[in-house]
């Protein structure tokens, strides 16, 4: 589908939730080191698709997943794969920020600590680096050990991004990650995504077409559990091939 190397490769993916067939026979490759947006009407399965990438459906009781999801060639749904190792490769940014009930410093250090980094000097370096990368350092450097819940929502979301980056992922997943934020925080995060794509592959679920236009290189349009169209941003938004896509992006005016 694309010349760029595929970081995530989805093959014949079917997902059933509680008896409903949510995702149907999906085949798609997510390219490396770029931003891919998944768009589509509510309930089409965007978030479900995103969650299959890091197997977050494991915690839900009535979800059945069949097919393959290859990350760097490794099928993450193979029973033999070690899941925490896979999840380490991915950072997740949810719709609302969920700071862990600890200090700002501990939030960012949480991941590295779990994966074995114990020495304070090492952790200090990581915390500072990621807080700088998410443009949060200057705002919090004097209160690193205060509770993370005291930050504003925009700051909390950046903290969650820093936290996710701290484990050294290769892929960043964003699930409508700016929908709870004010415009200023939203644009900060969008700018961060554009900057980060040099080093990470980013997959974003969004229902804001303008955001998709601003930020992404590729767009996947999902409708009722199927991939209707896929291609470069410009092409999907300005000159879509499919009728359904045309209908959906009709509201988007450049």
């Amino acid at each position: 589908m694309t010349k760029d190397k595929a970081h995530i490769s989805v093959q014949d993916l079917n997902v059933h939730i509680g008896g409903n067939h949510i995702l149907k026979d999906l085949n798609i490759d997510i390219p490396n080191k770029s931003v891919t947006s998944i768009i589509g009407p509510s309930g089409c399965g965007k978030t479900t698709l995103l969650k299959t990438f890091n197997r977050l459906h494991d915690t839900a009781a009535d979800v059945k997943v069949t097919g393959k999801v290859l990350v760097d060639g490794e099928d993450i749904y193979d029973p033999n794969t070690e899941i925490t190792h896979i999840r380490k490769k991915m950072g997740l940014l949810s719709q609302r920020p969920y700071p862990l009930p600890m200090s700002i410093y501990d939030n960012v250090a949480y991941g590295p600590r779990i994966h074995g980094t114990r020495k304070k000097q090492d952790l200090d370096i990581i915390v500072e680096k990621q807080l700088k990368a998410t443009a949060l350092w200057n705002e919090v450097k004097d209160r690193l050990h205060s509770s993370a819940t005291r930050l504003s929502i925009g700051q909390q979301q950046r903290l969650c991004l820093a936290r996710g980056l701290a484990v050294g992922p290769e892929i960043i997943l964003g699930d409508e990650s700016t929908s709870a934020l004010d415009p200023v925080s939203t644009s900060i995060i969008e700018d961060l995504f554009v900057k980060l794509k040099q080093d990470y592959s980013i997959v974003l679920v969004t229902h804001i077409l303008r955001q998709a236009a601003r930020v992404s290189d590729y767009i996947i349009f999902v409708y009722e559990g199927r991939i209707v169209e896929y291609g470069k941003t410009e092409q999907v938004l300005r000159d879509p091939r499919e009728e359904l896509t045309k209908e959906y992006v009709k509201g988007y005016i450049v």
Binding site: E82, T84, H85, I114
Partner: protein, 281 residues
Amino acid sequence: MRRRNLEELFFKFLMVLATLVVGGSFFLIVGTIFYKGAPYMTFDMLTKTPGGGFYIGKEGGILNAIIGSMYVAGGATILGLIISIPVAIYLNMYMDGKKFLSNTLRMVFDVLFGIPSIVYGAFGFLIMVYFGLRASLLGGIIAVTLLVIPILVRTLDEVIRTVPLELRDAALSLGSTRWETAKVVLRAIRPGIITAILISFGRAIGDVAAVLFTAGFSDNIPTSLHEPAATLPLAIFFQLGSPIEEVQGRGYASALILTIVVLIITILSELLVKKFYKHKS
């Protein structure tokens, strides 16, 4: 990574162990009582009053305590209902708009709920002394009523709250007074009232500390409110304290009787609660 998995496995093992202990204690306790008490269970136990000696003697049964407990628990529950139903209704239907006040009152009842029965017993004793009453059925009923009021108020309050506001509003909009609406509500929660009765009866029948100073003890079934009354828990306690092994054994049997009675009451009330809430949902 292996260390992390090992740690998880270790704690999972501990968790299962803990669950077995906590979940199994019920069976352990009831089982022990059955095991030790069954050999001493005779029909006489249920039908005769004790004979042969100082308080719990070598013969007879514990009919005095069984009836005595029924009187105390029954009397206390009835008195308790008379006071608690109006209170529960007042809290829910007559205090509209005064949310803070009604919640504070609820908190006070919660506090009353937490007061141990020995304090109610001591206070009941004070009241008896003040009024010149002797240790008697009446004294026991007073003390246990005090104990039971917070339980009833809390249960009834919860039950009344399940009545949808629309029902109350429907009655009110037909022009009924608040009291007439209350009567409608009460009829609607009849099974809930029965549950409350069962719960409070079960608590009342098993309590020792409240009747300890107030009800006295006797080998006979009380014929008037001013006679002392034997209660099951106290009977068990005295029997166990006896040096005669046979009497101790009968203590185990008495414990078995009490356990069975309370279990039946508890299970009945649980079933009623389930049936009641099935209606609601």
